[in-house]
């Protein structure tokens, strides 16, 4: 009885996690620019991976496997925002303009928050050509 309910629970978690991973991949394809795509990838990073790890923990035979899966859960939680921030920060400081507003137009030079002035010799902001945009 307990085994059956654990199976049902882990099945539900697997399906939910799979849907979220799929939604993340779909978002990366559908969203219009680099910054918005990062958000879609974030869904896969956080809930998608975590739900699948929890589902696997429910299927594990012994406690040591569960503990190891929980460690993976924890380290994923600690490291994934660091890599996302590294990519986003590199784009922002490197001068990639984000699409903004409902009309999805590029922000003008000097509009919106600017990078923190840690160094002076920063390259100028770049705007991708119109054809490079999808959505």
């Amino acid at each position: 009885m307990i085994e059956l309910s654990l199976d049902i629970l882990s099945w539900a978690l697997f399906v939910a996690g799979g849907i979220l991973v799929f939604a993340g991949a779909l978002g990366v394809l559908r969203f219009p620019d680099f910054y918005t795509r990062l958000h879609a990838a974030g869904v896969t990073d956080t809930m998608g991976a975590d739900l699948i790890l929890l589902a696997m923990a429910l299927q594990a035979d012994d406690l040591s496997t569960v503990v190891k899966l929980l460690f993976i859960f924890f380290f994923l939680l600690m490291t994934s925002p660091v890599s996302t921030h590294a990519a986003a920060h590199a784009a922002f400081v490197g001068g990639l303009n984000p699409l903004t507003g409902r009309s999805l137009t590029y922000a003008k030079e000097g509009e919106g928050p600017q990078p923190y002035p840690y160094d002076a010799g920063r390259p100028p902001r770049v705007t991708l050509p119109e054809g490079a945009r999808r959505g």
């Binding site: 849907i19 979220l20 939604a23 993340g24 779909l26 978002g27 559908r30 969203f31 219009p32 620019d33 910054y35 918005t36 990062l38 958000h39 879609a40 974030g42 869904v43 956080t46 809930m47 040591s64 503990v67 190891k68 460690f71 939680l77 994934s80 925002p81 660091v82 996302t84 921030h85 986003a88 920060h89 784009a91 922002f92 400081v93 984000p98 699409l99 903004t100 507003g101 409902r102 999805l104 922000a107 919106g112 928050p113 990078p115 923190y116 959505g135």
Partner: protein, 181 residues
């Protein structure tokens, strides 16, 4: 006894306990003396190296943020769940209705560690990504106008600020120990 040791070398003790726990949980050897001895030796070597590299400070072994950070993690997990549902909805909308926005949110944390926790929490919540960290503010890219909720994000920063102390009970205890001796 434990209290006395904590006043002498609290962060060393915390690191030893943490590493020993990690070793035991990952190896799952509880009754093999030779291997346990090797485990103890590797913990000792790591703590010795960390001590000599000068990493046993409030950033390397942040004992001062406990236990406040644990409640925060539970709250953050719920927030991440809610935000995931919102972003998944945006992805699955037949016609995309995004309104991305860059916002600057004040980050009044006392320490770099606190600002890092705040920035990473914002990134971990889908729909908002920290793109730049300044001395007193974060620049955040949000997926839609409604996710660019400056007050909500500032409230998260206030929660971080609550457990982001310069010194914890352990530091105070070691101060008292130093005064007594």
């Amino acid at each position: 006894m434990l209290r006395y040791l904590a006043t002498l070398a609290g962060r060393h003790l915390a690191l030893i306990l943490g590493l020993a726990g990690l070793w035991l949980l990952l190896s799952w050897y509880f009754d093999e003396a030779t291997l346990l001895a090797f485990g103890a030796a590797s913990v000792a070597l790591t703590v010795w190296l960390t001590h000599h590299m000068g990493l046993l400070d409030r950033e390397g072994v942040p004992t001062q943020i406990f236990p406040g950070v644990l409640g925060y993690l539970v709250w953050l997990t719920l927030e991440i769940g809610k935000a995931n549902v919102l972003v998944t909805k945006e992805v699955l909308r037949p016609r995309l209705a995004l309104s991305p926005k860059m916002i600057a949110v004040p980050a009044g944390q006392r320490t770099d560690l606190g600002r890092t926790i705040f920035g990473n929490s914002v990134t971990l919540t889908p729909g908002t990504v920290t793109v730049d960290v300044g001395k007193d503010r974060l620049v955040i890219h949000a997926l839609t106008e409604s996710l660019a909720d400056e007050e909500g994000i500032a409230a998260m920063g206030a929660k971080v600020r609550r457990f982001d102390r310069l010194r914890g009970r352990l530091d105070a205890a070691s101060d008292r120990g130093a005064e007594a001796s």
